[in-house]
Symmetry: C2
Subunit: 345 residues, 2 copies
């Protein structure tokens, strides 16, 4: 047998099995048209050479696809991209390819994508947040596909997860805002009905208000989708209210950057006339003027940890959920409120 350099070809298989390349091809594509004896010899050569004629045959030969799926709510901005890049780099170290799909924050699309990824051979899935139907949970359990929840962590989570405590993180941000003297708070948030991280952050914010003696019912919430434009429009709506907030907390840096842009366009000085805070510490948090006070999330660490955990889950190991730290980053968009009558702090 000649020494093989690079990937074995159809001809290599034919040579080793002592048949024509047409027969090898027939074995792979229409095995029922080949005698069992011949087929066996060809499949042995395929196995011996590690020949991968196409994905399908390889999957059947190995029983493995070496593929992991991730479904993220959006690729349209940078919220998930940095963590995902690290997730993929780490998977690559374990010889796994990543398939990414984006659900556009729509649960019914996510469900369809989960089923599709599993049917297409995903050996494990990375999913964002905990919120999904019983149907799809049952499907994953029945198919025995490990699924790791990321970008979220809850102390009582039934599923393995890696992320941060959205409740605690938003409560910490709210405490900081309240400690500066703010009493009229508003929040620009994703719709909590389709985003459980947003829901938990709202709860954290309300809990911090209550703990500080503020009435959580006074919190004004503008829900919106995830774009920069939407953040700006939400800020404009808040600014048209009779009781303008003195501090606008935002569910992401993208929304906060949009709010800042709208404030600039309206001639509203930040933080003099209103404080604005972000959440995520994306690149944009450092380039707004002033730079954003925000919650730093461990994007790359979360991606790497998620990959390591999922690799272990695929190998059949049990993993413990992991909570990662966030940290408050104080930059220029948060200050004490001025008295609107006197202009004094």
């Amino acid at each position: 047998m000649r020494r093989l350099i690079g990937n074995p070809t159809l001809s290599d298989v034919a040579e080793v099995a002592g048949v024509s390349t047409a027969t090898v091809s027939r074995c792979l594509n229409a095995p029922e048209r080949v005698q069992e004896e011949t087929r066996k010899r060809v499949m042995e050569a395929v196995q011996a050479l590690g020949y991968s004629p196409n994905f399908g045959a390889r999957v059947l030969a190995e029983g493995r696809t070496h593929t992991v799926g991730a479904i993220i709510p959006t690729m349209d901005n940078a919220i998930f991209s940095r963590g995902l890049q690290a997730f993929q780099e780490e998977l690559r170290e374990s010889g796994l390819m990543l398939l990414i799909a984006s659900s556009s924050y729509r649960p019914e699309i996510e469900e369809e994508q989960i089923r599709a990824l599993v049917k297409r051979g995903a050996e494990g899935l990375l999913l964002i947040g905990f919120q999904r139907s019983d149907d799809v949970r049952a499907f994953l359990a029945a198919q025995q596909i490990p699924a790791l929840v990321a970008w979220a962590w809850q102390p009582d989570a039934a599923q393995p997860c890696v992320g941060f405590d959205n409740h605690a993180a938003m409560a910490a941000m709210a405490r900081e805002v309240i400690a500066r003297g703010h009493r009229q708070l508003a929040l620009i948030s994703a719709d909590p009905a389709v985003n459980d991280r947003a829901l938990v952050r709202i709860e954290g914010l309300r809990a911090a208000m209550a703990a500080a003696g503020l009435d959580p019912a006074t919190l004004v919430i503008e829900t919106t989708d995830a774009t920069l434009e939407s953040g700006g429009l939400a800020f404009r709506r808040l600014w048209e209210r009779p009781n303008r907030p003195t501090a606008v907390l935002c569910g992401t840096d993208v929304l906060a950057a949009g709010a800042l842009t709208a404030a600039r366009d309206l001639g509203v000085a930040v933080p003099d006339a209103v404080s604005i805070t972000g959440f995520a510490d994306l690149d944009i948090a450092r380039i707004t003027a002033p730079p954003l006070t925000t919650m730093h999330l461990p994007h790359r660490r979360m991606g790497r940890e998620a990959a390591r955990m999922l690799v272990r889950m695929i190998a059949g190991e049990r993993v413990e959920s992991r909570e990662l730290d966030c940290s408050l980053v104080l930059r220029g968009t948060l200050a004490a409120p001025r008295d609107r009558e006197t202009g004094q702090r």
Copy 2:
């Protein structure tokens, strides 16, 4: 035969074929251990029911994977994400799933990923830029996998492509800068050795300089990787030079935003002391202070067009390469240079 609701199961197949579920399983996983007659009956039931036990068997049954691969240089920032989101949304309309891989701007990783995606059943590929080895071109040709080049367009391209003319776009930006009176130009760019879009943009810039009577050899180029930090460091290096540029053109908005941040930290007023321009018109271009003068690229349109073209290529149709328009967006970071002695414009 009972009516099936939802996906057919292994039991449905067994019932229709009149065998045990163990036999169905054996047919799918070790067909050589099943008699031909039985195997035929089971495979007929599999086909009749449209049963998809796993990706591998489905691929062999249908001969299709309904999967498209895209390899982008990075997921770490927003440069490719908006167009890719549109690409995926449009593919979804045609029932195709997208597998994304990220090459970290490394040609050898891209090549590995191309081979892996093809082996894993990608029916077509979206690739960024034209630059790749003869080996991998030959591989794609041999495998008959259509590959569409995006984010780049060249009039003489041998491969189908959809994108914009990087040469013309950077030349247009340079003409605008030169028309304001700038004579000392610098460029912060990706390494042209591994990024052919960057190479073509440098050529466009030099061509515009020559056409305006400037010596292209006076162009100072700082090459760097794609991050915000790198853009800032490159600006600092430019600012340490004895002949400081009066205008710094950047290959992406991310690099330009980094340069702006460094300028702010150095106390260098933009555009008073130096003009800075971006390229791509990402979200960040609108939130810097001042907002970035940049080249608007048709991200979402490029993604949608790419999907439509690739779907046609997979169907065996010939497609014509498509050039999309860019447009210069004048915002606040470009102005006439001040005379450094007199401070006058």
